[in-house]
């Protein structure tokens, strides 16, 4: 027995109410629940409500029927606990993090053998080195800008619905931002080391930025890669 579009929508709304906000997490749960409900209705001959409640429990969402009147069991049962879904999301988050870290180092190794990147890195270092001879502060600004630009480019995407409500996109975005926070922490921590009689010595800061540049660049490449997959899947979802 196939569920109607309205029944599928009902399950999707029930998942949202149970705090499964990210659509890329919800699609997997939705498909599983719909398949299981259809199966139970066909093979066990039970109603939609009974089947959905059964599947809800099978995800580890506990429901204590004691004290609940029979006509309220369905309604209360679906929203009494979402512990199973929360665990599902936590686990997914952990695995996405692992996947991103693994992919990050693969892209990192690939990038270092790309002629295009080697050239880009050499031009970046030369631009900073030459600028430093004349205006150290300007060299510092160029280096800082190179780290901030990927973060600014992200703003083009982060507010789009498909990206904003995607766990994959959110997590990879966070990895990107962490590099920016890291450099901020570095500067804050060692600020006294770079200042002599009130004058800032930009040498070490610039060297640090030059070293961090490939890490940020790779992180942005990973962001773009995940974003493309996310956008492709979201397009399929709303089609």
């Amino acid at each position: 027995m196939k569920l109607t579009k309205q029944e599928i929508q009902f399950i999707d709304n029930y998942l949202i109410k149970n705090e499964v906000k990210f659509w890329d997490v919800r699609i997997e749960l939705l498909d599983h629940i719909v398949s299981a409900v259809e199966d139970k209705m066909t093979n066990e001959g039970i109603s939609f409500n009974e089947a959905l409640l059964d599947v809800h429990r099978s995800f580890g969402n506990q429901f204590i029927e004691f004290g609940v009147s029979k006509d309220k069991i369905f309604e209360k049962g679906l929203y009494q606990s979402n512990a199973g879904f929360k665990k599902f999301i936590r686990n997914k988050q952990k695995e996405i993090g692992r996947k991103n870290r693994k992919r990050y180092w693969v892209i990192f190794r690939e990038t270092f053998f790309l002629q295009k990147f080697i050239l880009e890195y050499i031009v970046f270092i030369l631009a900073i080195f030459i600028t430093y001879q004349y205006k150290p502060k300007a060299a510092f600004m160029i280096a800082l800008l190179a780290l901030v630009v990927p973060e600014l480019l992200k703003f083009k995407y982060v507010f789009k619905k498909g990206v904003r409500h995607s766990l994959n996109a959110n997590m990879v975005g966070l990895l990107n931002t962490s590099f920016l926070c890291f450099q901020g922490m570095f500067l804050d921590f060692y600020k006294d080391e770079f200042t002599y009689n009130g004058i800032i010595d930009y040498r070490y800061i610039i060297c640090f930025y030059v070293l961090v540049y490939p890490l940020v660049r790779v992180s942005f490449n990973l962001y773009k890669e995940v974003l493309n997959t996310t956008k492709e899947r979201y397009k399929l979802l709303i089609s």
Partner: protein, 110 residues
């Protein structure tokens, strides 16, 4: 299922083996296939299946393909090249384990 703890360590191998025999499978299909193959003796719970699938995906053993089916999206899992190699290793390990257990539990058959 009589004792789920006995099967727990073999879940990844079961998933890999099934995916090795099929081009691609989705979550619910895996649970039903295992149930059918074991005549209902082994039921993989949702709470165990998805963490295992996501872990295998994170390790690069599985790849994901998304398709639109009956008004919803479906995530299909399939083996990567590394996953196919790993399946062979895992199955060998499992066969060795069964052999060892057999020698311990029933030496006559071993």
């Amino acid at each position: 299922m009589s004792n789920s703890k006995l099967y727990k360590g073999s879940l990844n191998t079961i998933i890999l083996k099934l995916l090795n025999e099929h081009d691609k499978m989705y979550g619910y299909e895996i649970t039903q296939k295992v149930k059918a193959l074991t005549k209902g003796e082994l039921k993989i719970t949702e709470g165990a299946l998805y963490p295992a699938l996501h872990k295998l995906e994170a390790e690069g053993l599985l790849d994901v393909e998304v398709a639109k089916v009956d008004n919803r999206l479906r995530k299909y899992y399939k083996l990567t090249e590394t996953g196919t190699k790993e399946t062979v290793t895992k199955l060998e390990e499992l066969a060795e384990y069964i052999k060892t257990m057999q020698a311990l539990v029933n030496p006559k058959l071993a």
